[in-house]
């Protein structure tokens, strides 16, 4: 099998986590690619925190509407059965446990399963936007990120960057592995096609709990 683009691999694997009929929020960037790999007949509703439930694909050129955008400001469409909501309802859904799943990018995930994804002190201070609410409130938090950045593992014993939330995320998907944080540590649950468990351990600063057999992602 020809090597797949790492981001596409991650997006395809995360898409397998999306349950039929669920309400899902996808972060900007890599996470937003996940929508491409969800079958339309699954009845999944995508929510953007700026106020639409039932987000659809980018409209054909010339049919963009200045009042229908995603949380990154990009033009989108609304699927049949979509609903407009204000920010109070949007975050009421997110914080009240009504969002089935959020997919977010990450800067670091640590051995406790905690995510840091909103600032690099002294370098990048964009603000947390809705990230802290999403991680604290969604029923299921999936982190979709590349395993390393500039040669350094993004999966670390303790986050050195400011946390997004104390909440343990539910799953981490990288181009190398699927990792499930549990109270006893980070469990390696799948490896990418052609990648060995020992390669993943070597590429990961945090300790991993590795079972005898680690299945390959079914991509």
């Amino acid at each position: 099998m020809a090597a797949m683009d790492p981001k596409e691999l991650i997006a395809r694997r995360v898409a397998q986590e999306v349950q039929p009929g669920s309400l899902v929020n996808l972060g900007i960037g890599l996470p937003s690619m996940v929508a491409t790999f969800i079958a339309p007949d699954l009845g999944v509703f995508f929510q953007a925190e700026n106020g639409v439930i039932g987000l659809g694909a980018r409209p054909p050129e010339g049919m963009e509407d200045e009042y229908l955008t995603d949380a990154g400001g990009g033009f989108v469409t609304a699927v049949p059965g979509a609903a407009s909501i204000d920010s109070a309802m949007s975050f009421g859904l997110i914080r009240g446990g009504h969002l089935d799943m959020t997919v977010l990018g990450g800067l670091q995930v640590d051995g406790h399963g905690r995510l840091a994804n909103w600032m690099v002190p002294g370098h990048m201070v964009p603000g947390m936007g809705g990230a802290m609410d999403l991680v604290s409130g969604a029923r299921r938090v999936v982190v979709a990120m590349q395993h390393s950045a500039r040669g350094a593992s993004k999966i670390v014993p303790e986050c050195t960057l400011p946390l997004t939330s104390l909440r343990r995320v539910d799953l981490v998907v990288t181009e190398l592995a699927v990792i499930r944080p549990e109270p006893d540590g980070l469990h390696l649950v799948e490896r990418a096609p052609g990648i060995g468990a020992e390669d993943i351990v070597a590429a990961t600063d945090a300790a991993l709990i590795v079972p005898r057999d680690v299945p390959e992602m079914a991509i």
């Binding site: 204000d86 603000g127 409130g137 400011p162 104390l166």
Partner: protein, 217 residues
């Protein structure tokens, strides 16, 4: 019943140093004509409470670029490098607030609650300096209500009572900000005769709106 006023007249009512809530998300659903009028009158020293500061050349980004702003309370400034540069240079003070906490703090200010009890921000820099209250074994941050001197909001359609309708992702912070300021100015695209907007379609009752701005030409 309200007489629609010109944006320049509205901007003239906002003094230098005022605190202003401004609706919009990356510029979508912001009161663009009023912002232009505020830039034109070279207003100074504003405290801006908004989700974000949009980008240079758009919405609140114009106020940032024109040097109108001394302080920002927002959830995100990442798409406006000028806000970040002015924050680093000390020209603008920035308070970053999680988006859901921001909307609830504004709502609390608007509906008379004493504060907001939320798990969002616990164990992060957002917790710094704030009281943590334990309720039935769970810990919550006590976040203060936010109010402003002015709320500057945008609506799809109004009537001359001041009733407002919003559309799609241009709702965002506008409805909640309409509750939380001493003076509420609403910039509609269209203004309809009284009695034409069905009661069920009204999202901000006109009694909350102090000034209705002229409609788009």
């Amino acid at each position: 019943m309200k007489t629609a006023i010109k944006c320049a007249a509205a901007a003239a009512l906002i003094p230098d140093g005022a605190s202003v809530m401004i609706g919009g998300f990356m510029g979508v659903g912001s009161p663009h004509r009023l912002i232009d009028a505020m830039v034109a009158r070279a207003i100074r020293g504003l405290t801006v409470i908004a989700n974000d500061t949009a980008m240079p050349g758009r919405g609140i980004g114009k106020l940032i670029s024109a040097g109108c702003v001394a302080r920002v309370i927002a959830s995100h400034i990442g798409l406006n490098p000028e806000t970040q540069a002015k924050m680093i240079s000390g020209e603008i003070e920035v308070e970053l607030v999680p988006q859901g906490t921001l909307v609830e703090r504004i709502r609390a200010g608007g509906v008379g609650l004493g504060g907001v009890l939320t798990a969002t921000g616990l164990g992060t820099p957002v917790e710094n300096g704030k009281e943590v209250i334990e309720i039935d074994g769970n810990r919550f941050l006590l976040e203060r209500p936010i109010r402003a001197d002015f709320a500057l909001i945008a609506a799809r359609q109004a009537d001359y009572v001041g009733n407002l309708e919003y559309t799609l992702t241009a709702h965002n912070f506008n409805p909640v900000m309409a509750l939380a300021a001493d003076v509420v100015m609403a910039e509609p695209e269209h203004i309809m005769p009284v009695g034409v907007i069905p009661p069920d379609a009204v999202k901000t009752p006109g009694v909350l709106v102090d000034h209705l701005l002229e409609r788009a030409v």
